[in-house]
């Protein structure tokens, strides 16, 4: 089994909902909250998780359209002040889903939107992670997508580890899984 196959972020990115229009009728599926398995009529519009929408799209059972989070409004906001756009609320897997959408419906304008967004925002992540005090305004963190948060945490933890080493804390720690580390008594 491929290593990548168990990448939870990739799986959860596939869970994001995308707008789709049915081209064909489908029997015996409870796609809507009402769980009586019934029939889906052609031309009905529904939001499907990407894992389902993409497979049905490939077989011309549905037609997937560009999710709003990659639309005009976002493009303008990113252009204006990319670093402070709340991408997480629009789509927490903005980059991963964007890449998947581009490959599915070959909509290359999304590609440049993703690149411009990441380029402007990753500098802010870098500065905040490496320099600012640890008690960072949570408001900023709430804007970040999953991928940006992982980058921020990678930078944050390596900076913290450097400071811990510099302070000369105890070198042996209780295994983290056994819960809260006991506060080492400062001699």
């Amino acid at each position: 089994m491929g290593q990548y196959h168990h990448d939870i972020d990739d799986i959860l990115a596939d869970e994001e909902l995308v707008p789709a229009v049915f081209l064909e009728a489908v029997n015996g599926v409870g796609l809507f909250e009402s769980n009586d398995t019934n029939r889906v009529e052609p031309r009905s519009k529904v939001e499907l998780p990407f894992w389902l929408a993409s497979e049905l799209h490939l077989r011309h059972v549905t037609s997937v359209t560009i999710p709003p989070c990659f639309g005009k409004k976002t493009q303008e906001e990113i252009g204006a002040d990319g670093a402070h756009v709340d991408l997480r609320s629009r789509c927490s897997y903005f980059y991963e889903l964007g890449c998947k959408i581009v490959q599915l419906i070959n909509e290359k304008t999304i590609g440049s939107l993703l690149l411009v967004a990441f380029q402007t925002r990753y500098k802010e992540v870098l500065i905040k992670a490496h320099t600012s005090a640890s008690a960072l305004a949570p408001k900023y963190l709430s804007l970040l997508t999953k991928e940006e948060t992982k980058l921020y945490e990678a930078a944050k933890s390596s900076t913290e580890a450097f400071k811990t080493w510099r302070m000369g804390g105890p070198r042996f720690q209780k295994a983290s899984v056994l819960g809260r580390k006991r506060k080492p008594v400062r001699e």
């Binding site: 168990h6 939870i8 959860l12 489908v26 049905l56 059972v61 070198r171 899984v177 080492p184």
Partner: protein, 198 residues
Amino acid sequence: MYGRKASQLLKEFVSGEPGQLTGFNNDVFAQVIEECDGNILHLQALLRKMQEEGSNNQTNKNADHFGALVHHLSLVRNKRCLMAYVYNRAEVIQNLGWTIKHADLPAAVKEKLSISENEYFGKHSSNLQSYMLDLNLDLAVDMVPPKDPYIKVRVLEEIGEVLLSDQIANLAMHSILFLKRIDAESFISQGKMEELTS
């Protein structure tokens, strides 16, 4: 919507602290299996319907067929999520296996593991032990680069009289001692001692 419960499992797993283990979520896990059973039933029912109807209604047949496809895709999706859930928890168990043998695992942690996970943890520990026996070299110590062979520690739980590599020591509660690094390492990792940096 199909697959929602399965992704809930994974969201719960990633929301935990990295390296930490949340309890194995038997309920949601069972619900996902139930959903799979439902999928296969609908899938087979739709296929039988297609067979019986023969060709008189091609459009209806396609609708049945696509319904079967959706249930198939849902099954595959659920399977991938369940496998990822168990696989990623197994990785946490593997990392844990480097610091603590399964036999020494406190009950509070064992309860978080499923039956199969506890079994897996035990096998992982013994696989590691047999590799170290093959080499006649203990790899579960020396996790941190060596400094002085001796380190200063404070005992946090009453351990009592213990034969160490270079001395017989009385590891009484709150006592502060100079122990060989290698002897102290496993006690610290189990939280029974802490290193003091003077």
